[in-house]
Symmetry: C3
Subunit: 126 residues, 3 copies
């Protein structure tokens, strides 16, 4: 159950929030070696007004203008190259929406299998 | 010093935010084997408008409709069963407010004792 | 690439957000043993309305009134005393803006070098 938190400009969210959501999810599902089910979709969008998102314009060797911050929380179980491939795929998919790849900042926090509880069924579900 | 971050629907926050805050805190304090003092209460509520909280309706075997995301940051020191019992108690307590237990998503990130600084006294406090 | 997330009162953000941003960044850069470049500046401010930030008034031995929560995500590579010195320097710098040091709550989450992707250059950058 990755949880994905996206902090972004409010106008960008209003124009393309649904498409960004779908692109991030598609990028995750496409990583077949991660074996994350297509139903495993949990995202929190936080639209921001001017001045709330602050980033250096060039750190990391990019030409950054309007940062979009994607924070992933996921279970610690993937090798480094898989994680980096996920980040790159997210940036690739989101940038197809007309968002500059320089502006898409991704970071990951890991926890354990036991650190999740995605609700409790209030009634029999089958 | 657990820090609890709650992302939820804005109307739900306006109607029941204080009760949700109290319920989460009560659930934490009731976990006597965690030995967290009743004064250890730090919560950040983030109300959301439509479209900002996105979740699969069924992943994890629940009937999810309007997700409420609870993220706990706490020191790594509790056994797995204690953590899971905390999550379940939070969901139980919050669901008593009329919020469906299926909708309450809990996750935990752990850090170390040294990773906290809850302010510095600006004047002698005794 | 530390990422710094700041949850604070909306009026405080409107009055002093830019100064708080600069103070936190100065505190980070001044920690010369951390060796973080001055260009490594990534901050997310989240202004809050009344009732959204909840904190015990005295836990931790301080006189807390209006909490400002600073969450740092950074690579796991600094010794404990360096991390604590960073927290104290942030509180010192921010409190020079007239914000009570009792109110400044700092916590840190650590991840790995491989858990970051700060954008992808969309064109040659030199």
């Amino acid at each position: 159950m990755p949880l994905i938190q996206i902090d972004l400009d409010r106008r960008l969210f209003e124009e393309k929030g649904q498409a960004i959501s779908a692109a991030i999810h598609q990028a995750q599902v496409e990583m077949t070696d991660m074996n994350i089910p297509a139903t495993d979709k949990f995202q929190v969008f936080r639209p921001h007004d001017a001045g709330e998102l602050i980033a250096d314009p060039a750190h990391g060797g990019v030409d950054r203008r309007d940062i979009l911050v994607i924070q992933i929380t996921a279970v610690h179980r993937f090798p480094v190259r898989t994680k980096q491939a996920l980040f790159e795929n997210i940036i690739t998919q989101v940038s197809r929406l007309g968002i500059r790849s320089d502006d898409i900042f991704v970071t990951l926090i890991e926890n354990g299998f036991e650190d999740w509880k995605p609700g409790i069924a209030s009634a029999p579900t089958d």
